[in-house]
């Protein structure tokens, strides 16, 4: 079975999607060492025709992308608009991974409905959508802080190699929290007061000498 992963991150190789994909593939190769996994970048918009040909020739496809304004990035949507409609008997297995910076998966469950319908619309065998929140900044974090998320993607790859599908159990775990529970809301409010919630943004603003401009309003009030 030919597995192709289309990476829909506008950040291309330097994306969180790339990091997660690498761990998925490591898990996949721990079971199917010799099976090639092709990775294509949708940000290479000049490669659209070639990417569509690769999609057409693949037997299993995973499309991974970051949530952009509550949905897929424009370049991923462009790819979707060009996807061929398969023959009426579904043979191509198509799954999605949606990652976002927000910690809760409630932001991504709306696009999940769209993706399910898309797979149906182009006659593909829908494998489901893996949703993972809290991903922004993982590239700059020490790897020890990302152990859990990387392990989950490794296991997801292992299961995919063994069964040709996403593990329902891992998907459920990754999707949590869908929304913060009361205790998590209390913790969040406390962290907000301490400034830790926005630490990532503040430290980057300071690093770039732009902290004093953080509230700029160049287009009005």
């Amino acid at each position: 079975m030919t597995l192709t992963i289309f990476n829909g991150s506008p950040r291309r190789h330097k994306s969180n999607s790339t990091l997660l994909t690498e761990h998925f593939i490591k898990g996949f190769h721990s079971i199917k060492e010799k099976e090639n996994v092709r990775v294509c970048y949708l940000a290479e918009t000049k490669m659209l025709k070639e990417n569509l040909n690769i999609f057409d020739r693949s037997e299993q496809v995973i499309i991974i992308f970051p949530l952009y304004t509550d949905c897929m990035p424009g370049m991923v949507k462009e790819f979707f608009e060009h996807l061929p409609v398969k023959d009426s008997s579904p043979s191509l297995k198509l799954g999605f991974i949606v990652q976002s910076g927000f910690p809760e998966s409630s932001h991504s469950i709306y696009v999940e409905r769209y993706l399910r319908k898309l797979a149906q619309r182009i006659n593909c065998n829908y494998l489901g959508t893996v949703i993972k929140g809290g991903v922004e900044g993982i590239r700059s974090m020490p790897s020890s802080m990302n152990k859990k998320v990387f392990k989950s993607f490794h296991q997801l790859g292992v299961h995919f190699a063994e069964y040709g599908e996403f593990s329902g159990e891992i998907m459920v775990k990754m999707k949590n929290p869908i929304k913060f529970n009361n205790m998590e809301l209390i913790i969040f409010r406390f962290l907000k007061i301490t400034g830790l919630v926005d630490y990532y943004w503040k430290s980057n603003l300071k690093k770039n000498g732009a902290y004093h401009q953080r509230d700029n309003k160049p287009f009005g009030n």
Partner: protein, 183 residues
């Protein structure tokens, strides 16, 4: 009111949708100031996710194209109309490409809204909007619901309200122009 139409139609040759939007523009101009952006005629590049607009030059996008004109016009508007033919079950990739860039208008800091994390406002107010869609050959009610729900999420993140989601085959331009009086 100042109304801005963000027209995501992608076909170069005239068609039913372009005729509809041109007529809507004319109807709205009777009572409002109308800005009509035909995005296909503009230079709008993809967001690269560089976050310059959040942590290098806050509020200003690093990409220099026609978006600055759109940012300024949106923030000076009272109401927006996101207009698009439905393509593969959602608004056009062109409209989405433009929408992706609107993160520049938000602040990176996180606040809780309805118990969920969202980005803080950069500006005091953001214009409400309506959605105007043209069905494709296989559009059904579920497609419309999905689009409407995703744009409701967009409204939540952009601190505004989606006032309507109308279809070109159900709502005529005079009706839409008339209803804008109640917005």
């Amino acid at each position: 009111m100042i109304i801005t139409i963000l027209n995501g139609e992608m076909q170069l040759e005239p068609n039913n949708f372009s005729v509809y939007i041109t007529d809507l523009d004319r109807q709205l101009q009777k009572d409002h100031t109308v800005n009509h952006f035909q995005l296909k005629e503009m230079n709008i590049r993809h967001c690269t996710g560089c976050w310059s607009c959040w942590w290098k030059t806050p509020g200003i996008c690093a990409i220099k194209d026609d978006m600055d004109e759109i940012f300024a016009t949106i923030m000076a508007s009272d109401f927006l109309i996101f207009a698009s033919p439905i393509m593969r079950g959602f608004t056009s990739s062109l409209l989405k490409r433009m929408t992706d860039r609107l993160v520049t208008l938000l602040h990176p800091y996180i606040i809780l809204t309805n118990g969920e994390c969202h980005h803080r406002k950069r500006y005091q107010r953001y214009p409400d909007f309506g959605l105007l869609l043209e069905k494709e050959h296989d559009s059904d009610d579920e497609d419309i619901e999905i689009i409407k729900d995703i744009y409701d999420r967009f409204a939540l993140n952009f601190h505004c309200t989606q006032k309507f989601a109308w279809l070109t085959d159900r709502n005529n331009t005079k009706e839409i122009a008339y209803d804008t009086h109640d917005i």
